[in-house]
């Protein structure tokens, strides 16, 4: 691999040939603000927030689409660069609702983070505001186009991650919108509800509907785990607040799937709290299943299985283990049948 050496903010750094200036900065812990960039998507160079000054270049090039070259001299934080970014942010904020205190994205909003960092007031440019209807006609995704900054990441996620391409820009200039064809609501479009668009949205335009009002980012702990809904083995983060799962978010480091998930993995976690959960042991008495204590239920099973084993032999007892349970639990179940009951009558749904 060929390596290049360049200077960023006076620091000499080496990166592999083919690296963008943005990645060169990030590899070396030099922060650059971005709104339209995501590592798993192709770069658009659309938001221009990642501009830097490069010696010998006339304008401020966007670092996400500029290749690093040997001997390049880059400045990322000088007043000219910071001022350019601030103007972009002022323009975005001029057309953005400032209901941050009730916005679901508060605490995790890139626009708010950079606006704070760059001292954006929202008072520099005054003008018309959008007043578009909120798309809430589906149980999964809440879409507020008034908060959309037109970064285009959701469009790329839909086409490059999901291969679906149902989203695109429509109209022009101030009226530009992002959405399905004819600006249909999601539930009337061809949307799969994979939620990849939500996972890349930098602002509050696309949020998980189930999580609205359920918790702020700083109140939530994230637990990486493996999805229970098919054999692909996607990983994601369960978002937990006060001992309750409030939703699922993508974990970019998930080994199989990265940010991609399907509708079940991302939104089906509400089955945990289904009213149909069995929450206490049940024993059939007089033909009806009635609640019982654990000791009573387990003693009854131990006694009955013991009696049946004694009377009819161990092979009169069988078990179905579970393709939904963990490896450890399946191991214990087959060991229970083989070592405790004394039979190989153990199977599961692999064949059925």
């Amino acid at each position: 691999m060929e390596w290049l050496t360049l200077t960023i903010d006076g620091r000499e750094v080496s990166v592999p040939k083919g690296t963008t200036v943005l990645d060169a900065c990030r590899m070396n812990n030099i922060p650059i603000p971005t709104l339209c960039h995501a590592p798993e998507l192709t770069s658009a160079g659309a938001c221009r927030l990642c501009v830097v000054q490069i010696e010998g270049m006339r304008n401020l090039p966007p670092s996400c689409v500029t290749q690093a070259t040997q001997g390049m001299k880059v400045e990322t934080q000088n007043p000219k660069v910071r001022n350019a970014r601030k103007v972009i942010l002022e323009l975005l904020v001029a057309n953005h609702p400032l209901d941050c205190m009730t916005c679901q994205k508060m605490g995790d909003c890139s626009l708010a983070e950079y606006a704070y960092d760059y001292g954006v007031t929202g008072e520099v440019y005054q003008g018309e505001k959008r007043n578009l209807p909120i798309d809430s006609g589906n149980p999964f995704i809440l879409r507020d186009q008034n908060k959309c900054i037109l970064c285009g990441k959701c469009i790329k996620a839909c086409s490059e991650i999901q291969g679906k391409s149902i989203l695109d820009f429509s109209h022009r200039g101030f009226d530009t919108q992002v959405g399905p064809a004819f600006n249909l609501p999601y539930n009337e479009s061809d949307c799969d509800f994979c939620g990849s668009c939500v996972s890349v949205c930098p602002v509050g335009a696309l949020v998980e509907k189930q999580m609205v009002g359920k918790g702020r980012p700083w109140e939530v702990s994230k637990v990486q785990t493996t999805c229970p809904f098919c054999g692909v083995g996607c990983n994601f983060d369960l978002n937990v607040k006060d001992g309750k799962v409030i939703g699922v978010t993508s974990n970019p480091d998930a080994p199989v799937n990265g940010k991609a998930l399907c509708v079940k993995g991302r939104f089906g976690m509400d089955m945990i709290y289904s009213d149909n959960r069995v929450t206490t042991p049940l024993i059939r008495k007089d033909g009806v299943l009635v609640p019982a204590e654990w000791d009573e239920a387990l003693d009854l099973i131990a006694t009955k299985l013991g009696e049946i084993k004694k009377t009819y032999g161990p092979n009169s007892i069988a078990a179905l283990s579970s393709a939904h349970c963990t490896n450890e639990e399946n191991y214990l179940m087959q060991k229970f049948m083989r070592a405790v009951i004394g039979t190989n009558n153990i199977d599961h749904c692999a064949r059925t």
Partner: protein, 523 residues
Amino acid sequence: MTNSINEIPNTKVMFVIGSNATEAHPVIGTKMKQALAKGAKLIVADPRRIDLADHSDVWLRLRPGTDIALINGIMNIILANGWEDREFIEERTEGFEKVREAVQKYTPEVVSKVTGVPVENLVEAAKIYATAERAQIFYTLGITEHTCGTDNVMSLANLAMLTGNIGKESSGVNPMRGQNNVQGACDMGALPDVYPGYQKVANPEVQAKFEAAWGVPLDPNPGFMIPDMFEAAVSKDLRALYVLGEDPVITDADANHVRKGLQALDFLVVQEIFLSETAKLADVVLPGASYAEKTGTFSNTERRVQMVNQAIKPIGNAKTDGEIICELATRMGYPFEYQSSEEVMQEIAKLTPQFAGITHERLGTQGLQWPVPHAEHPGTKFLHEGKFTRGKGQFVAIENQLPAELPDEDYPLLLSTGRKLSHYNVFTQHSPSLEIHSPEELAEINPLDAKQLGLEDGEQVKVASRRGELKTKIMITERVPVGMVFMTLHYFDSPTNVLTNGAYDKVTKTYEYKVCGVKISKV
């Protein structure tokens, strides 16, 4: 899978047969679409016009249950054109001559007649697959859920070996496993003939090893497979059944027969997170914990063992399934004294060669793909590099076979079953959001059949087979060919498996969920 999921975006050719990946394995479906965006070619063999068929270079719309004829026909064309990989056949396989003889009679014309696929599509598919630099086969239950399922799989193995498309990166045979941990349940020996790691119960050395580890004498005779259990229950050879996290009344073919078996038992225990249809028949129901409430591991379809991390306490009075089994074993006089699931994994690693190098700590956030034979081993990305497990790859000559029950005068439509994107087996109806999104069965029927029966889109109908009947709404669509009906297995109100046939594959005893005869009438 012999390959890894993340090899898919870089593959050159994908042959997807009997797999509706974008719905049943959605994120694998997205990886396939990423490969297409990079210029990969796609062959789809499926009677239904699934989403991938619309993205394919060749769509082989075969008649259900004619997979062997199709594959033999493709092999016939490959051999006739000299597209086979002679070096691979010579060095890595045996038994090729018998296959060459067997496929001779499967000429393109004969196969076209049997399968309904035009000759030019057969030739095109054979050419794309056999002449690719690297090609992968993907299949799921459309291949295995037939009375000839094992032979279907062996046919695909023949095809891969014929063209040398196995044992390399982005080149192999990839069954995509259905449930989240069906791979792991098999790996852990939740099967009647093997201990963990596929070590045979009938092998005296293996038996001695587990007897020494567990300190009790063990039975060398394989036990009942699932279909045997219901038979044995009816004949009173089986008296008690312990069902962990399964709902066979809904998920097993010929559900009425299953129900009869369960009702004949002296004692039925069901350990579940929901009050399932099977739980409703139980003598004792034990509340287990969901994935969010426990720590352990799942093994995915690419053999990746990954952590499941507890996020919340079990709901109500529920306990983790592992804890329940331990308490019961202890009460029955064999103490299971594990402090954590990690300790269970340590015992698994000691007894299971493929898991020898696995600990929860090593799995971390990225998991490991078995085989992991020792503590420093990085895991195995793809299988069969340079050599098959048995040494040489065994070609097996396979003849086409008819399904156990085809449509006839009384039951003129062919029912096939599968999944849809918005649901997973019989779990997700308990998710309020998924239930709102996709609340009911919509049996797919071709417009010509609907017209003949005088049915309207969305109409409630009665579907009946020789074994049972149900009511469902219909969706009129050309996704299904004339004469075919498609239903999912997801809905309690339209329990499709009261219709399906309990006939099964002679080796695996997997039911023929994909083909049976039904009739539809107005309600």
